[in-house]
Symmetry: C2
């Protein structure tokens, strides 16, 4: 069995997010009230179910994120893709 | 009162995700079993609470996403999916 997983990655709170600032400026220019905008990455992938938490954690820390400056969260997705 | 909102954006299922394919290739090269990898964007922002659902929806469709090729989901920061 496989598991569908979503990973969401943002810069850590203290790290300057230039992209987020640019989006915030853009939103305000369009008349939207928005503040503290942060821009991050999202991944969805299908992994073997056995030991998936540990595998996904390793994958995040070695490949998908830079643990020095980024935080990530892992979510299970409902839809399981059966091959 | 303000509300902290997260928006997660992915290309629609039928749309070719070259970045996702590249990540998948990279993961496999590192020895991780992963398939159907998709790469998306994530935003977090603080908006005024009054009418926030409608405002965030408009903001997503006009600015944060391309509704022709992208799907998005909105979450309250407590991670409750907004229908």
């Amino acid at each position: 069995m496989n598991k569908r997983v979503r990973v969401v990655v943002f810069l850590k709170p203290g790290v300057l997010d230039a992209q987020g600032q640019a989006v915030e400026t853009g939103l305000r220019a369009l008349g939207f009230e928005a503040s503290e905008v942060r821009v991050g990455k999202a991944f969805e992938l299908t992994v073997p179910e056995e030991g998936w938490r540990e595998r996904v954690r390793e994958l995040c820390e070695r490949f998908l994120t830079n643990p020095l400056i980024e935080d990530y969260e892992v979510f299970e997705r409902e839809e399981v893709c059966v091959p």
